[in-house]
Symmetry: C2
Subunit: 462 residues, 2 copies
């Protein structure tokens, strides 16, 4: 007889009721009584556990009673209706065999652990309810993103991680090397001779796949990337990690309005998908992480996102009867307090467009006013900035000028510049930090708790 | 009127026939005659191009005739049945507007370019038929992998890329650092003081997510990774790259037989999916890259994969009337010539199991004979080794002994070791190099031609 998974049991409850099954998994809790016992059992394939009931008719009754929380077991039994409130069925065991023992001092006991404690047990925390919910939502949301883009005929591109192009500011990128740091080759100029390194020059791991993504958009029309990204920021906040995942779509023949349409449609698709596929996980997070989470997500699906310029936002902020910590300015970025005010003001997500060009990147399309760029940030209630994008500068001469203004060496990205010479077109793209999305979908406040093994300054454990 | 994509036109040919449309894209070829002209047009969303027909009734006729290969254009016209053999419809233009010009010396002309030349034009080669086929198959195959695992309820895990664990041999890993190589902090021991680096210690970008993957398999039962991987190998062959993508599934309560079942089922799923979604791309590769490709793939779907031990393979090789370059040995790995012979001998894919333990990794399950490990390589006709996997050692004491034997510091991976203490179980996993799969699916022989921007020793362009 083949063993089954708990997920199958929950998908086909009616088919299994009254049937004999074999199932493998772990003891999450164990209540023992003199003549019988109850095991809270999970095999990891479903968020919901199942109750295993056994009694002293079983010849291994004494051994079963010794099985501790954390043990892996093989259960043979019959699926029966449950008398217990809140669960439809349970398993009446005819045999329970120990597969893998677990000691008394196993760190993950059936009680509330602090998130700080669980971060220290990062390799065991996926066994807790909270992280079963978070990492399942993470996996399902990743699939939602792939489904959205593939069903809309976007090409998935694996842009390179190792790069020699330092156009984004190499001081924000990790260097990668095969050289022995204690025995570096020194050149005639008394500096490290990087030509001796594997790639023959200084190389980095990248902070964005956008530039490479654009080259594919100008061949395949609509593309997306989805991969890991790195920043060297020495910043220990709740929202910064040195390694995280990004989604970077790029679309040819697409202007800022088209870009916003895509961002809104994609976000709604992902939220709807997760609500449908992870109802138990969302309910758990609603109850134990962020009260009102489910309502927040359902409200997003129904809302029409506001579209407003940076100037209009500053007007609203200046008129607001609020004592700001940071004074709103037409020339500046907006602060967290402003983001919060604006999404509350419009009671929903807000696209802020047309930012002052001096605070934005060199590749963004300069507007006719020559003061602003066709950039857009999406601000979402409770999460702040979730996506950032822009129309890309498609005029070769303006792009060259902007590169020089902002200290980018145009020769180092001549291929990127050339896209404007060889059949260029209006095109746009955006980036979404995947962890920020997961924080929004789960209500989790610290980025360390939505990444399997987070990397932050001074912390690269496991 | 909203513009449409070529992919929509091909999906709903009948709906569009006789209708007026607007479409944006690029000129791939342009044949001019005195009173009319034909544009071979692609917008990148479909492998097939479409023919645009125009004549001198259009007021911009003279300007259109000047439009060169590579230009981006906006076409308004009517979809009509085509008199030309091999295409069902064409577009009779009522207007063609130039969006982005392209110079005479544009490198991608409508003629055969060598793959070596195209590697040097890596940012433009996605515009050629060959790379339109290859990268679309790559994108579709990636989706097939996600669909296979997600529909079977595997959790997608983003294992970390930056790591301080050097259990796989740090000499094969890239070091990552934020330190200034020309101004390194030196400690009292005269060595570089790595505590000054961002993570407070030497860190690497990883060559595998397996160890971290196992920690999640022992919580979620069945998981997979799909992400970039790095090796520092200074090897300039057709099959080596320093950056590539890997898929690494791990399954709890799964032995070597179960592992092989999954590998076979997954591979067939992906091949079937690609054949269905990319018929034009596969046909193109069959014609211009590998004759017989389609037949090879269809044959795989029908074949039952052979399962045979390493010892049996060596027996067969020794009996074969072949003069080997490398003599087959019961203690050794098998060579490329042996792989080829064996898949031809069995006329299909072959799982080779139970390898001599001395040539395999420390975490593989030692068999009862204490000479071999429960490892398996999948050999595929025409591609050689496509996947490698094993049952993982689940006995703490044996694992500890093996780690020490093979020079792995158990303390550096105590968390991994501990999985055997805290409810361990029989579990197995495998790794598949994604590029090797794409080479198999397209017939492409050089790994540089299946990666958007390949990184090989001395080569990190773009």
């Amino acid at each position: 007889m083949k063993s089954i998974y708990l997920s199958e049991l929950y998908q086909k409850e009616k088919d299994y009721l009254g049937k004999k099954i074999i199932i493998n998994g772990w003891i999450r809790n164990h209540r023992k009584q003199k003549e019988f016992g109850f095991i809270d059992f999970s095999d990891g394939t479903a968020f919901k556990h199942v109750q295993i009931v056994y009694d002293n008719q079983l010849k291994e009754f004494d051994e079963i009673q010794k099985m501790r929380v954390g043990c892996s077991i093989k259960v043979t039994g019959k699926v029966v209706e449950s008398p217990k409130a809140g669960q439809k069925f349970e398993i009446q065991a005819t045999s329970i065999k120990l597969l893998g023992d677990c000691p008394e001092d196993y760190p993950i006991q059936p009680k509330k652990h602090s998130r700080e404690f669980l971060r220290e047990q990062a390799y065991l925390r996926p066994r807790t309810n909270l992280f079963q919910a978070v990492f399942r939502i993470r996996s399902v949301a990743a699939m939602a993103i792939h489904e959205y883009f593939q069903s809309n005929n976007y090409l998935y591109v694996h842009t390179p991680l190792i790069t020699t192009a330092d156009c984004e500011g190499s001081d924000q990128m990790f260097k990668v090397t095969t050289l022995d740091l204690n025995n570096l080759p020194i050149g005639e100029d008394k500096k490290v001779d990087m030509s001796k390194d594997l790639f023959g020059s200084t190389s980095y791991i990248t902070g964005s796949g956008q530039l490479h993504g654009e080259t594919f958009a100008l061949a395949f029309n609509r593309i997306y990337t989805f991969g890991p990204t790195f920043r060297t920021e020495n910043s220990n906040t709740k929202t910064h990690a040195n390694e995280f995942w990004m989604i970077e779509p790029e679309m040819a023949f697409c202007d800022l309005e088209g870009l916003m349409d895509t961002e809104e449609e994609m976000l709604k698709y992902v939220v709807k998908y997760v609500l449908k596929k992870c109802p138990d996980e969302i309910e758990f997070c609603d109850k134990f992480v962020e009260n009102g989470l489910k309502e927040k997500l359902e409200k997003l699906l129904k809302s029409k996102f506001t579209r407003i310029t940076h100037k209009e936002v500053i007007d609203i902020l200046k008129k607001a009867k609020v004592k700001w910590e940071f004074e709103p300015s037409y020339e500046d970025d907006i602060a967290k307090e402003h983001e919060k005010y604006i999404t509350e003001h419009f009671n929903g997500p807000v696209f802020i467009t047309d930012w002052p060009k001096d605070i934005k990147a060199w590749y963004m399309k300069v507007n006719d006013d020559n003061k602003t760029v066709a950039a857009v940030d999406l601000e979402v209630p409770g999460a702040g900035e979730l996506m950032g994008g822009s129309q890309r500068e498609d005029d070769y001469d303006i792009l060259l000028k902007r590169a020089k203004e902002l200290g980018v060496d145009p020769d180092s990205v001549d291929w990127y510049m050339n896209l404007r010479k060889f059949g260029g077109c209006v095109h746009s793209g955006f980036g979404m930090g995947f962890e920020r999305l997961i924080m929004y979908l789960t209500g989790i406040e610290n980025i360390r708790d939505v990444i399997p093994y987070s990397r932050t300054p001074g912390n690269c454990l496991y």
